[in-house]
C-alpha cells in the first residue's frame, strides 16, 4: 500500500493497487465543526479530478467534498451517511467517504505528502 497523500481541498487519499480510498482530513473536520449530514457520489458514477464528489454539512454550513483524482466510484461508506458524527470521530480511517478505481495513477503525483499538507493546513488556517 502506498503512502497517504493530501489535496489542497483537505481530502486524503490512500492507494491500494488501482483502488483509492478517499476521505476528508482531521484538519478539515476541525474547521467544519460538528458534521451532521453527508452526501456521497453514486456507485458506478465517474468523477473527475478536482470535481465535486459529495457534500458535508455542519450545523453552520454546507461544504463540497472534492475528489483529488479521477476515476469510477466502486464503493461508498453508508455508515457515515447514517451517522455523520463518525466523520468527526475518525475522519482519516473508518470514516472514509468513497473508493475509486483510478483512471490515471500519475494524478497522485500532483498531491502533497503528510509533512507538506500539515504545513499547508497550518498556513492556510492562520
Amino acid at each position: 500500500m502506498s503512502e497517504v497523500k493530501y489535496s489542497k481541498e483537505h481530502e486524503w487519499i490512500k492507494l491500494d493497487g488501482d483502488v483509492a480510498t478517499i476521505g476528508i482530513t482531521k484538519h478539515a473536520t476541525e474547521m467544519l465543526g460538528d458534521i451532521v449530514f453527508a452526501e456521497l457520489p453514486e456507485k458506478g458514477s465517474s468523477v473527475e479530478k478536482d470535481g465535486t464528489a459529495g457534500v458535508v454539512e455542519s450545523t453552520k454550513a454546507a461544504s463540497d467534498v472534492y475528489t483529488p483524482v479521477s476515476g469510477e466510484v466502486v464503493d461508498t461508506n453508508q455508515a457515515i451517511v447514517d451517522d455523520p458524527s463518525k466523520i468527526n470521530q475518525d475522519p482519516e480511517d473508518s470514516a472514509w467517504f468513497f473508493k475509486l478505481k483510478i483512471k490515471d495513477p500519475s494524478e497522485m503525483d500532483t498531491l502533497m505528502n503528510k509533512d507538506d499538507y500539515d504545513k499547508f493546513a497550518k498556513e492556510t488556517s492562520a
Binding site: G33, D34, V36, F37, V55, E57, S58, T59, K60, A61, A62, V81, P84, S85, N88
Partner: protein
C-alpha cells in the same frame, strides 16, 4: 469600523472560543466542545450565553411615557404589571418589522432589549417617535448574559439569592457584590432560564461563579440551533421589514385590547390582515430524512409550483434531524401539507409542521 469586544472577550478566549464577527462585535460562535455538545448541555443542564452585544435601552418616564409607547407598540402597557415583560416589535407604518424585542416595565420606566444589528437604528427611530421627551439610555456600561437550561435556576440562585422565585416573563432588581443587577426569567432557547443585566466591571466575576457552579459558556452557534428548535424567530432572517407580525404568525403577541382601539403604528395593516387573512405565512418545515434546507431554499408544492422560501434551517441536535421554518402561500400552510425543498438542484420531500420542534419547558407558576 473596528469590531467591538464584549467585557467577556478574554474569558471567551480562555475557554478556547472560535470567534465570528456579528453585528460589529467579535462574538464566540462555539467553544472546544462544539455546537452539538453545547446545545445538548444547555437542554440537559445549564448554559451561559454572552449576549452583551444586544441593546439595553432604558427609557425613563411615567404615565405619559406609557401613553406614548402605546402609540408605538401593540401592547397593553398600561395594564402591564411592574417588572413584567412582553415580546413585541418595532414596526413601520406598513407593519413591516424594524426589530423584535422584549419590553419590561420597571419602577423608573421601561427596559427594552433590542437586537444587536438593529439597536442603533431602533434608538434613532424611538427617539424621533418620542420627540425627545424622555431620557433614553442605550446602556453600553452594562453587559447582558443569559443562563438557560433546567439546572440554571438552582445555579443562579446559589449566586444571586431569590431569583428562583421569579415567574416566566417577569423580572426584578437583585444584588450581586453590592451591585444592582436586573434579572428577568426569560430567554431564547425554549428552556427555563434568566437574562441578567449587570455592570461591565462585574460580569466576569458573575460568569466565573456560574461556571464554578457547573454551568458552561455556550456560543452563538448553539444559540441558533436551540432557538430554531424552540420555533423562535431570528431578526434579519425570519423577520424583516417586508414581513408583518401577522404574516410571521406572531399575532399572539399583539394585544386584543389594543387592536380594538387600533391606534398604534402599523395598526391599519395589522387589523386588515387579521380580518382578511394574509397571502404568506410563517410555518415550521420538517424535511424528510437528513437533508438540511438552509435559508433561501425554495419551497415547491406537489404540482412543482414555487410557493415560498426557507428563512432559517439547520440540524436540530435535540430533534436529531433537520429543522426549518419559512414562509409559504397561505393555502399551503396547513399542518402535514407535503412540500418539496430544492437543495443543490434536487427536490426533497418535507412537510409543514407545527412549532416548536422541541417542547418548551418554561416555569410559570412559581408563585
Amino acid at each position: 469600523m473596528e469590531t467591538k469586544k464584549t467585557s467577556l472577550y478574554q474569558l471567551h478566549q480562555d475557554c478556547n472560543a472560535k470567534f465570528v464577527e456579528f453585528a460589529g462585535y467579535q462574538m464566540p460562535i462555539q467553544y472546544s466542545e462544539g455546537i452539538v455538545e453545547e446545545h445538548k448541555f444547555t437542554r440537559n443542564h445549564s448554559g451561559i450565553f454572552d449576549v452583551s452585544h444586544m441593546g439595553q435601552l432604558f427609557i425613563y418616564g411615567g404615565e405619559d411615557l406609557i401613553k406614548d409607547l402605546e402609540k408605538i407598540f401593540p401592547l397593553d402597557l398600561k395594564n402591564l404589571k411592574l417588572n413584567h415583560s412582553k415580546y413585541s416589535f418595532l414596526m413601520d407604518k406598513d407593519a413591516g418589522i424594524h426589530d423584535d424585542l422584549i419590553i419590561t416595565k420597571t419602577n423608573e420606566g421601561f427596559l427594552i432589549i433590542l437586537n444587536a444589528a438593529c439597536k442603533d437604528n431602533d434608538f434613532k427611530i424611538l427617539k424621533e417617535l418620542l420627540e425627545e421627551k424622555y431620557k433614553m439610555v442605550l446602556d453600553e456600561n452594562r453587559s447582558l448574559i443569559a443562563i438557560q437550561g433546567p439546572k440554571s435556576s438552582e445555579i443562579l440562585n446559589d449566586v444571586v439569592n431569590g431569583v428562583k422565585d421569579l415567574n416566566f416573563m417577569s423580572g426584578n432588581w437583585f444584588t450581586f457584590e453590592n451591585q444592582k443587577v436586573y434579572i428577568t426569567r426569560s430567554g431564547y432557547t425554549g428552556e427555563d432560564g434568566f437574562e441578567i443585566s449587570i455592570a461591565n466591571d462585574f460580569v466576569n466575576q458573575l460568569t466565573r461563579e456560574l461556571i464554578n457552579k457547573g454551568s458552561k459558556l455556550i456560543g452563538l452557534g448553539a444559540r441558533d440551533t436551540l432557538r430554531l428548535e424552540a420555533g423562535l424567530c431570528l431578526y434579519g432572517h425570519d423577520l424583516d421589514k417586508d414581513k408583518t407580525p401577522v404574516e410571521a404568525n406572531l399575532k399572539w403577541a399583539i394585544s386584543k385590547e389594543r387592536i380594538s382601539k387600533g391606534d398604534f403604528i402599523g395598526s391599519d395593516i395589522i387589523i386588515k390582515q387579521l380580518n382578511d387573512g394574509v397571502s404568506k405565512i410563517r410555518v415550521g418545515i420538517k424535511p424528510e430524512g437528513r437533508i438540511i434546507a438552509r435559508e433561501k431554499t425554495k419551497i415547491f408544492n406537489q404540482s412543482d409550483v414555487h410557493i415560498g422560501e426557507i428563512t432559517s434551517g439547520t440540524f436540530g441536535p435535540s430533534v436529531n434531524g433537520p429543522v426549518a421554518m419559512g414562509y409559504v402561500e397561505n393555502e399551503f400552510s396547513k399542518k402535514n401539507t407535503k412540500v418539496f425543498l430544492e437543495v443543490r438542484g434536487k427536490k426533497h420531500p418535507a412537510s409543514i409542521c407545527s412549532l416548536p420542534f422541541y417542547k418548551k419547558s418554561y416555569v410559570k407558576g412559581v408563585n
